[in-house]
């Protein structure tokens, strides 16, 4: 047996998607069902257009979401926690730039018992003041700890430099913002944005078809429809005029680095090809940034690049934490890798590895209903469906080095990038 010889590789040419059933509740709320699980578990995810984009002052979207577990008309925070915990369920809330919502993970056998409490959270939350005060002071404590972390600071400074402090993507939390959050703000935001009109439901796992009747009972009433305020007009982006933002920390042994600039988002026709180019550059463990800066130079434990995509903007971001003594050397190497990307064709072998890796990653992203529901959620935010994954697969298979070289010249320009360092 010749151990130097690799076994033959089977390429992935097509993928078969797990079945997604799409329907509407009686009031029109769209529901996606991924009922192909093996284990007797179910995840129900509610997604509202209630992210940071829609808030009129900082942290309102975040705290409205965080307070969902803190009390409803019929259940106190304690009763909600007792109920979910008693049946071994996990209730998670999250708020992003665009959407906010919650998910419930439960054993299928308990879901009927949990639904009334879960549903009331989205129809009858009461935002008790005493609970809000506790959460507020705890979050201030957490912020004071986070502000001691270089990577946290670098991320704030980067978003601030890109978008300015008046844009929802660039606004970061300051202590004084916590003083300015009142129950009435949260109630108003909840009333405006957490309505059936604004809702999409994803259900994944292994469940009985009668679960749809339950969803209809709790979320399907026309009484839950409300007029949603007009979406805010686009905010003005006030990018910093300075490209270099350094915060010195004399006691640090490492510096956090974030480099990048505005770019396109998922809705742009170049985005799929660009995701292949980004993978080559810094999007996976075998990327050029990792190979050079971690695996050859040993400057860092990890370095990655990504094209962050949100409905109203996109940007490229290269991030790492490196030894303080090699901070400048790292910047030089990043610049060098960008120059190579802009001037040289990617060789066939390297591109093939990336293509094969990405095909495998696509397969993993739809493997099993719970994983698939996360992937689907990411698409729904952009009003896309699973055909997007097919397009990605096709792009990955067909894109050429020549096309990628053109994209590199169009989307990678070190001189135009913000360089944010802390430490």
């Amino acid at each position: 047996m010749n151990r130097a010889l690799a076994p033959e590789i089977n390429l992935i040419d097509s993928i078969s998607f797990p079945n997604v059933e799409q329907l509407k509740l009686d009031n029109g709320v769209p529901v996606y069902l991924l009922n192909e699980g093996v284990q007797d578990v179910v995840k129900i995810e509610l997604m509202f257009k209630a992210g940071k984009w829609f808030e009129s002052k900082n942290l309102i979207a975040d705290f409205t979401n965080r307070m969902l577990r803190e009390g409803t008309k019929n259940y106190s925070a304690k009763q909600i926690a007792d109920t979910f915990d008693y049946y071994g369920a996990n209730f998670n809330t999250s708020a992003g730039f665009e959407t906010a919502g919650a998910s419930l993970f439960s054993l299928t056998k308990h879901i009927d018992l949990l639904l009334p409490v879960f549903a009331e959270i989205f129809t009858e939350s009461v935002f008790p003041e005493n609970e809000l005060n506790t959460i507020l002071s705890n979050r201030k404590q957490r912020l004071s700890v986070d502000l001691k972390k270089n990577d946290f600071l670098a991320n704030r400074n980067f978003l601030n430099a890109l978008f300015g402090k008046n844009h929802p993507y660039g606004r970061v939390s300051e202590f004084e913002h916590f003083e300015n959050i009142f129950v009435e703000d949260l109630k108003a935001f909840y009333k405006s944005y957490y309505s059936a009109t604004n809702l999409t439901i994803l259900v994944a796992g292994k469940f009985s078809p009668s679960l749809v009747d339950q969803l209809n009972k709790y979320f399907g009433s026309k009484n839950l429809l409300r007029e949603v305020p007009a979406a805010p007009a686009d905010y003005v982006i006030e990018s910093s005029t300075e490209l270099i933002h350094h915060t010195e920390k004399t006691d640090s042994v490492q510096s956090a680095i974030i480099i990048g600039n505005m770019s396109i988002n998922k809705t742009h026709p170049d985005f799929l090809k660009l995701s292949v180019l980004n993978t080559v550059f810094g999007g996976y463990f075998g990327s050029r940034l990792m190979s050079n800066i971690r695996e050859e130079k040993g400057y860092t434990y990890g370095i990655y690049s990504s094209f962050a995509s949100y409905p109203h903007a996109g940007f490229i971001e290269i991030a790492s934490e490196v030894g303080k003594d090699v901070r400048d050397a790292t910047l030089k190497e990043i610049q060098h890798e960008i120059n190579v990307l802009r001037t040289e064709l990617i060789d066939a072998e390297e591109l093939q590895v990336v293509k094969n890796y990405m095909c495998g990653k696509i397969l993993r992203s739809i493997d099993g209903p719970l994983k698939f529901s996360e992937t689907l959620k990411g698409l729904l935010i952009y009003n896309q469906d699973v055909t997007y994954i097919d397009q990605l697969l096709k792009t990955v298979r067909e894109v050429t080095s020549e096309e990628l070289l053109q994209l590199a010249q169009k989307y990678f320009d070190y001189d135009k990038m913000y360089k944010v360092t802390v430490g």
């Binding site: 076994p7 284990q39 979910f84 700890v145 001691k148 430490g423």
Partner: protein, 412 residues
């Protein structure tokens, strides 16, 4: 219920296969029975550094990651006090690529000097990122040293200091590899869209010829029974006072493991748990609090860690934690609360089986503990725990003279 088949190769390699036709992927997990507890006190952090070195090329293959990525796969590894675990996940029809790669690095490494030096640097940056350049980053080093006086758990997996990593020599890597990375000291588990017969054939083909090593006998120094309260006070440039209380618990195989584990869930699993409800929500003494265990094979720790609310004194915070803990020694847990933590464990276990990679990792872990089949008995063992057993476990664990406390003060 995780179904599996198993065999042992002539060289001692245990092979376990778990078929799951519902996935298109295959997961390959190799657990080596070696961790930081096997290190020399002069060369701590070595097992973890060595894990990095395992990706730096083997006898016949210059590099591990690229061929796996080329097969559409992804891989990673972790090191604990007791084990080093490697896994690959890839499309099932490319399974053999993982066998080719994993078997070659079990056969022998390339032992390239330059790669060792680079990985030393990478690990030193990892050390800095997680243990130096972080608020409270040094606390785990301090706690290990406080709680253990002779057992190798007295140093963290990352190592005691940067110098130990910097000073590693190639000869140590070779000795370590040929002692611990032998088929008789490993468990191979393959799961996913695979057939047991084919996997056994592949195992024989790729791993069958690898020579076995010496039988590993561990003579780790046994940690003496702690019989005095230990307290360390630290002042540092952190924004918030913090407290850490670590209580000694038994070994993974001890009879009261399950009762002790459920104590931790009573304390800190979910918003209804006692520490969060009483000390964060009701008394508002902490802005965050949690309890967790080290999950080690030898005598481990059950820790409570909390960040104090503004203007709360360390004494008040500490007595409040002790009150919650001592209450469990005095009063039996109610039937409802016991049922709750058992339901939580049950749900946790079912969810942990959703992912085929978790299933193969669990099989490997239980095989290392003694028997892979035990993975399917865990739920029952938790179900069988009584309130009396939990009270007894609490009385054994939550005693001042069994406790190691770090009072971590903000000097701001």
């Amino acid at each position: 219920m995780i179904k599996f088949e198993e065999t042992v190769l002539k060289n001692g390699l245990k092979v376990i296969v778990h078929e799951d036709a519902a996935t298109t992927m295959a997961a390959v997990n190799i657990l080596y029975k070696v961790g930081s507890r096997d290190e020399d006190v002069q060369q701590t952090g070595f097992a973890h550094l060595f894990e990095h070195f395992m990706f730096e090329g083997s006898k016949n293959i210059p590099e591990f990651d690229t061929p796996l990525q080329n097969a559409g796969g992804e891989n990673n590894a972790f090191t604990s006090t007791d084990i080093t675990n490697y896994y690959d996940i890839l499309p099932a029809n490319n399974l053999e690529t993982a066998f080719w790669l994993e078997s070659d690095r079990m056969l022998s490494l390339a032992f390239d000097e330059e790669s060792l030096n680079t990985q030393k640097n990478v690990v030193m940056e990892e050390f800095k990122e997680h243990y130096i350049n972080q608020p409270y980053g040094d606390v785990w080093h301090k706690m290990c040293a406080l709680a253990y006086k002779v057992h190798p758990y007295q140093w963290p997996v990352i190592g005691l200091n940067l110098q130990h990593i910097e000073q590693v020599k190639m000869q140590s890597a070779k000795d370590f590899f040929f002692k611990y990375y032998r088929p008789n000291n490993a468990v191979l588990v393959v799961g996913g869209n695979v057939k047991a017969a084919e996997v056994f054939a592949l195992a024989e083909k790729w791993f069958g010829e690898i020579p076995s090593g010496e039988k590993i006998t561990r003579n780790l120094p046994k940690e003496p029974i702690q019989n005095e309260e230990r307290v360390l006070e630290v002042k540092a440039d952190v924004p918030v006072h913090s407290i850490y209380k670590a209580y000694k618990i038994g070994t993974r195989n001890s009879a009261d493991f399950y009762a002790t584990d459920l104590l931790r869930d009573i304390l800190s699993n979910g918003d209804s748990s006692r520490l969060y409800r009483q000390l964060v929500k009701e008394e508002k003494l902490f802005s965050s609090i949690s309890a967790y265990g080290t999950d080690s094979i030898d005598e481990g720790l059950l820790l409570v860690e909390g960040k104090l609310s503004k203007d709360v004194s360390m004494d008040a915070a500490e007595s409040a934690i002790e009150k919650v803990l001592y209450e469990m020694t005095q009063e039996k847990i109610s039937a409802d609360e016991l049922e709750k933590v058992k339901n939580k464990i049950e749900a946790y276990m079912v969810f942990s089986e959703v992912n085929v990679l978790n299933r193969v990792m669990n099989l490997a872990y239980f095989e290392m503990l003694g028997n892979a089949a035990d993975v399917n008995n865990e739920a029952e063992k938790y179900r069988a725990v009584t309130a009396e057993q939990m009270q007894a476990a609490a009385a054994k664990v939550f005693r001042k003279e069994n406790c190691n406390t770090i009072r971590y003060f903000s000097n701001n």
